[in-house]
Symmetry: C2
Subunit: 236 residues, 2 copies
DNA sequence: CGGTACGTTGAGTCATATCAACCATAGTGG
DNA sequence: CCACTATGGTTGATATGACTCAACGTACCG
């Protein structure tokens, strides 16, 4: 058994807690997963994998937050998504059998399990329910990507910033004082919205003047969700 | 037999010709597909399906060109992709079991086969190789979407227009006189690039002055691919 | 013949990027 | 302990890419 360390999460437990994509695995498969996986810990700033590399497996996030981003031709990051507990990353490259089209960097210290590609592929071949689950995941993400494309192409920076704040509220939630449960640098915010750092700063302080948010360093306190919704034009 | 009309394409033949995603189906499955499919013809401007609707199957394109787009909150279209011979559309909604996140409209008269969702799902359950093929397709498209997001977020309209022209060359090819094998209105071009129609017109005529293209109505003759590549900053 | 859709051009405006200076903070090394 | 440096945040001034609005031309169609 590889499972001496009490800190290493059990796949069975893990996949029950978060309604994960592993929920359709058989007990045997879950056991195999648990045996083959490689538990790893990373600190803020660490890089899990980098764009352009061939990837030998994917990562299942147990705790912490990771940003997944592409690097534009002038070196500017475009954040594609965040991954947190229960999410998997790098599966796209593994499944399409392509080089990584993104890089992944730790935003909040995290614990992840690395799972070799072969396992994933073998489960797909033996467990149709699981295959379907993966397909659903990819197709769902594809739908989100399409929305994002439309937003970036058509909305103003102001609208997008408001929208992104709401997305973050939705994904990471607010604490008991309405502070966003994720803290990002202004530059990172800019790299989600697709704008310049200075623009984010200016717009955030506008939002602050308008009593939509409060700002304490990197912490964002959300005061008026309705108004943000209105600004962001979410009709979808 | 449903296969009286000589014009209706046989799935077996069709899937051999274009290296389609059906290539991993067994002869039995192909036969079933052929039996269950519904052959349809559409003319320019026809709508195959619309955003927000529940979809009962997907479409396999036999001939013609279809644009797949999202409608922004102010009614402006954002073209997500084009589908031509061998491509399938609407599979995303079917597989993720979500409402359609896009609409599909005919650009060039087309012949398509409509295939009920159940068939697709049943093949996934019985044919792992086919499931894997579908996953690959979705994941590949996801990678393209990620690139597109980064482009729209970071590149100028000029760069994107040049890039889109090259994409179209790549997808649809040039005829013997170097004319692009797809003709789009200026508005449609704008709706791919994510800009205003007038901007496309101005930039196109700039490209024309710079001897990169020639314009004859909607037909675009590509004169200098290298220069377009340089403008578009394709390092990926 | 008028109507509708598309294409083109010009002029003015505005949102956003860019450039530059400056401050705050924290970590580092002598 | 302090100077040093790096990183991130903020603000102002300025430039400009791109959008909008408006007018007009063109072509096709019933």
């Amino acid at each position: 058994m590889k499972q001496q360390d009490i800190n290493i999460p059990l796949c069975a437990k893990c996949s029950l807690e978060s309604g994960s994509i592993f929920k359709h695995l058989t007990p045997d498969e879950t056991e195999k997963l648990n045996y083959e996986k490689d538990f790893r810990q990373y600190k803020r700033g660490d890089i899990l994998y980098q764009e352009g590399n061939r990837i030998s497996g994917f990562y299942c996030i147990n705790s912490g937050i990771i940003k997944v981003f592409k690097t534009g031709f002038d070196g500017k990051e475009q954040i594609i998504r965040f991954a947190k507990q229960g999410d998997i990353i790098a599966y796209r490259s593994v499944l399409s059998n392509e080089l990584a089209c993104t890089s992944a960097k730790v935003i909040e210290d995290c614990q992840v399990c690395f799972i070799p590609s072969e396992i994933l592929i073998s489960f797909i071949k033996t467990n149709p329910a699981y295959a379907l689950e993966l397909i659903k995941l990819a197709c769902h993400e594809l739908g989100e990507a399409n929305s994002f494309i439309t937003d970036i192409a058509q909305k103003t920076v102001r609208e997008r910033l408001a929208e992104i704040i709401l997305f973050l509220v939705n994904d990471f939630g607010l604490d008991d004082q309405n502070y966003l449960n994720i803290s990002l640098t202004r530059e990172e915010l800019a790299n989600i919205v697709g704008t310049a750092t200075e623009s984010v700063i200016r717009l955030l302080s506008e939002f602050k003047s308008d009593k939509l948010v409060e700002l304490t360093g990197r912490k964002i306190k959300v005061l008026n969700t309705k108004a943000l919704e209105k600004i962001s034009n979410i009709y979808n």
